[in-house]
Symmetry: C2
Subunit: 112 residues, 2 copies
DNA sequence: GCGGTATGCCTCAGTGTCTAAGGTATTATT
DNA sequence: AATAATACCTTAGACACTGAGGCATACCGC
């Protein structure tokens, strides 16, 4: 709605970057972690995730590598956070804080 | 992204309903209040506001009345919160809290 | 007198994010 | 034999917001 209008929509970006800050993960795993860590709140669809991961990698925020798993036929594509991605994470985190704070100013609004 | 995927996009709705909880206001005034109360953070565009007000009124959340102002040529369209709008406000407020809480769970994530 | 800024309402094409559904392939369960 | 789970992928459509436009009046500076 203004300078960072995309902020709130792009919250998934922030969450993905945050997850990868802890450890490298593959897509399917991210969906589960988001669901579990948010106590079932975030049910991210694959259609929202995969294109986003590709974009983040193309932007140089993430790197990926394929890892075969013996007992499974389907390889996993692990993503990890690049230095540029860490900066992006910090930026997005600050934006989120700013937004949440501003909204609280509106909601609480002690004065009339 | 899930049950209330529209939540975060529809944050403007929440803010408008909140503003009108305090007192009836007209569109142009809402834009200024949002800007001032958020310390300049929210710069809502008219293109986002007016259609939304029409929709909220059509949904029965708001009521409007035109008020002429002597020293000004342009009449003001004052909106006020209906009973149904108060319920909607409560609902949206709870949704917002749930979302912000869930996101914090992801961001803080004390465990690995 | 003329452009810029402010007030105050309005609309609409375009952008970007997400949803919902589809696809491929294998294994385990019912 | 069908369903769910794992694991990757794509794409049409919905939806909220941006940015620009329009209309009308008043004031300010040059």
């Amino acid at each position: 709605m203004a300078h960072d209008a995309q902020l709130v929509k792009g919250t998934v970006r922030l969450m993905i970057l945050r997850l990868l800050e802890s450890e490298p993960m593959y897509g399917y795993q991210m969906i589960q972690h988001l669901r579990d860590r948010s106590e079932g709140y975030f049910q991210l669809g694959e259609g929202a995730l995969y294109p986003l991961l590709h974009e983040l990698e193309a932007s140089g925020f993430l790197a990926s590598r394929w890892v075969a798993v013996e007992e499974r036929p389907q390889s996993r594509k692990y993503y990890s956070l690049e230095a540029k991605g860490e900066q992006e994470l910090a930026r997005r985190r600050d934006e989120w804080k700013g937004f949440a704070r501003a909204l609280d100013l509106i909601l609480e609004a002690s004065r009339a």
